[in-house]
C-alpha cells in the first residue's frame, strides 16, 4: 500500500501471470503447484474469486462451450499453442433494443460469496485483487460487446447503430454492479484491488477514439471505481496496446493503477509515462512478452528489468509484472532470469 501512496517501500511488489502451458512447465521444474510457483517467485498478490454455482449451459451442436453470457467458444490447437476462438455471438442478429433486453443476462446469485471472507483471511499477508469472474470471458464491457455481437458488428455499430449496444451495456453493468457489490461487501474491506480487464489499444494506436471511449465506456469504469472505493479498494485497469492518449480519461474516471504497459506498442515509453503520469498513476506490468521474454537472452532480460524498475519504480508507484501472460514460446530460463533480476534490483535503498 506504500507503493500506492507513491513512496518507496522496502522493495517493489511483484506479480506473475502465464498461460497454462508455461504454468505446467514451471510446475514440473519446481515440483510444485500453482501456489508453489507464486511462493517461489515471492509474488505479493493473491486473487480471490467466488466460485460459480449457477446453471450449467449445454454444449452447442458444433461443440462450442456456451458461457453465462450465451457466448460460445471453441478450442483451436495450433502448432504454437492453444487458442480459444469465440464461435457463438448470441446477439449478432439482434435487431431491436427489445431483442437485447430479452437476452438471458447473468445474475449475481449464480456466485457463491459465502467463502470470500475466509479466502481474504487466508491471504491477509498479500495484496488481494479480484478480477471478479474466473471464466474464459472475464473481461470488461468493450470486450463483452465484441463477444456478444461479434467484433466486427460491435465496432461498426458503435458508429452506425449504437442503440442495441447501449442496452447491452446497461444490462452488463446491472450485473457487474450487483456482483461486485456483493463481493466487496462479503470481503468486508479486505479486497485491495478490483482488477478490471478490457482493451482499448492496438499495436499502433487506440482501437477507438477518445470521444467514443467517453461516450460508451468512461461512466462504466467510473461506477466500478466508485464502488470499489466505497470499500477501500482501488481499480487496476487492464488495457493492452498503445493507450497513452486515453490515460488522462482513465485517471479522470478514477483508475488508480494501469496495467499492463505494453512497451512494444506505439508511444508506450516508460520514461514518458512516468514523467507525465507517474505522480498520480501507479503502473503494473512493463516487461515485454512479445519480443524480450521469448527471444531475449537472460542478460538482456536482466538489464531491461533493472532499467524498468529504476524508471517506473522511482518514488514508488510500480508493481512489477510481465506485461501479459508468459506465452508458450517463452523459454523457462528467461522466466528464471527475470525473477532473479527482480530480486537483485527490486530492493530500494
Amino acid at each position: 500500500m506504500i507503493t500506492m501512496a507513491h513512496e518507496e517501500a522496502d522493495r517493489i511488489p511483484v506479480n506473475f501471470r502465464a498461460t497454462d502451458q508455461i504454468i505446467q512447465r514451471l510446475s514440473k521444474r519446481l515440483c510444485s503447484d500453482y501456489f508453489g510457483i507464486l511462493n517461489h517467485y515471492r509474488v505479493d498478490f493473491r486473487e480471490v474469486i467466488p466460485p460459480y454455482v449457477g446453471p450449467g449451459f449445454p454444449t452447442a451442436a458444433d461443440g462450442s462451450e456456451i458461457d453465462m453470457w450465451g457466448v460460445g467458444r471453441k478450442e483451436l490447437l495450433t502448432e504454437t499453442g492453444r487458442d480459444v476462438m469465440i464461435s457463438v455471438n448470441p446477439l449478432k442478429d439482434a435487431k431491436t433494443p427489445e431483442d437485447v433486453k430479452n437476452h438471458s443476462w447473468p445474475k449475481a446469485e449464480w456466485f457463491d460469496f459465502s467463502q470470500v471472507k475466509q479466502m481474504c483471511s487466508d491471504f491477509r499477508e498479500y495484496a488481494i485483487s479480484t478480477p471478479g469472474l474466473h471464466l474464459e470471458g472475464y473481461h470488461g464491457v468493450f470486450h463483452l460487446l465484441t463477444y456478444l455481437f461479434g467484433m466486427e458488428r460491435a465496432m461498426l455499430d458503435l458508429v452506425v447503430n449504437p442503440e442495441p449496444l447501449r442496452v447491452a451495456i446497461h444490462e452488463i453493468m446491472e450485473f457487474f454492479k450487483d456482483y461486485y457489490e456483493r463481493l466487496f461487501e462479503a470481503a468486508e474491506g479486505s479486497i485491495d484491488f478490483l482488477f478490471y480487464k478490457d482493451d482499448f489499444g492496438g499495436q499502433n494506436n487506440l482501437l477507438i477514439s477518445p470521444d467514443m471511449f467517453n461516450e460508451f465506456f468512461h461512466d462504466n469504469i467510473k461506477e466500478l471505481c466508485d464502488l470499489a472505493a466505497g470499500y477501500g479498494g482501488k481499480m487496476i485497469l487492464h488495457s493492452c496496446g498503445s493507450v497513452i492518449k486515453l490515460i488522462p480519461n482513465f485517471m479522470e474516471a478514477g483508475v488508480a493503477v494501469l496495467d499492463p504497459i505494453q512497451v512494444t506498442a506505439k508511444d508506450m515509453d516508460i520514461r514518458e509515462l512516468k514523467d507525465r503520469f507517474g505522480e498520480k498513476l501507479v503502473f503494473h506490468g512493463g516487461i515485454d512478452v512479445q519480443q524480450l521474454m521469448p527471444f531475449g537472452s537472460p542478460g538482456e532480460i536482466k538489464n531491461k528489468t533493472r532499467e524498468t524498475m529504476e524508471v517506473l519504480g522511482k518514488d514508488g508507484g510500480y508493481f512489477f509484472s510481465p506485461s501479459h501472460r508468459f506465452q508458450p514460446d517463452t523459454p523457462v530460463e528467461n522466466i528464471v532470469a527475470l525473477y532473479d533480476a527482480v530480486f537483485d534490483y527490486g530492493v530500494y535503498g
Binding site: E79, V160, I208
Partner: protein, 208 residues
Amino acid sequence: MGTQDIYQTVITYNKMKTAELVQAEIEKGVDVNRILNEGLVAPLEEVGKKFSDGDLFVPEMLAAAHAVKEGLEILRPHLLRAGTELKGTIVVGTVKGDLHDIGKNIVIMMLEGAGFGVEDLGIDVAAEKFILAAKEKKADIVAISALLTTTLPSMEETVGLIKEECPQTKILIGGAPVTKPFAEKIGADGFGEDAPAAVAVAQQLLGV
C-alpha cells in the same frame, strides 16, 4: 452534386444512402467508373489517410468500408458490363494458427474498392490452401495477415512454400506484429503497415 453526394455518404458512414445515391447516379447515366472513383474510392482514401495518421480509428474505418461495399454491390454488375477490367486478382487470408480477421476484412473491402478482384480464404489458412487458390484463380498477389506474434514463424514458412510453388505470384504481408524488416527477411515482395498502405503496395507491385 452527384458523385460528391455519394462521397459524403461514405465519410458520414451512411451505407443505405450510399447504395441509394449510387443507384440514382447509374440511372442518370453517369459513367460508372466516375461513380466508382469519385464517389467510392476517393472518400475511402480520405478516411484511410486519416486512419493511417491516427485521427480515425477501426470503427470509422469499418463504417466507411462498409458504405463503399454497399455501393460496390450496386455498381459491380454495371462495371462488368462496361468492360471495366479488374486491376488484378488477389487471394487473401489470415495465416495458419491465427484467427483474427478484422484487419484482413478491412483490407479486402479497400482492395475491392480500389478495383481489385479479391478471394477471401478466411482465417487459419494453411500454405497449401493459399497455393491452391493462387493457382486456381491465377492470382497476381497472395496477401497474408497475422495478429499474433506467435504465428510469425507460420508466416515465414507459408511465404517460403508459396514462393516455391508459385514463383510468379507476388506476396504481400501485414498485421500488427509484422514489420518491414521481417517482411524483407522472409522474402515477401511487399509489406503493408495498415489497410490503406496495403492497397498502395498492391498497386505498386502490379504497376496499376
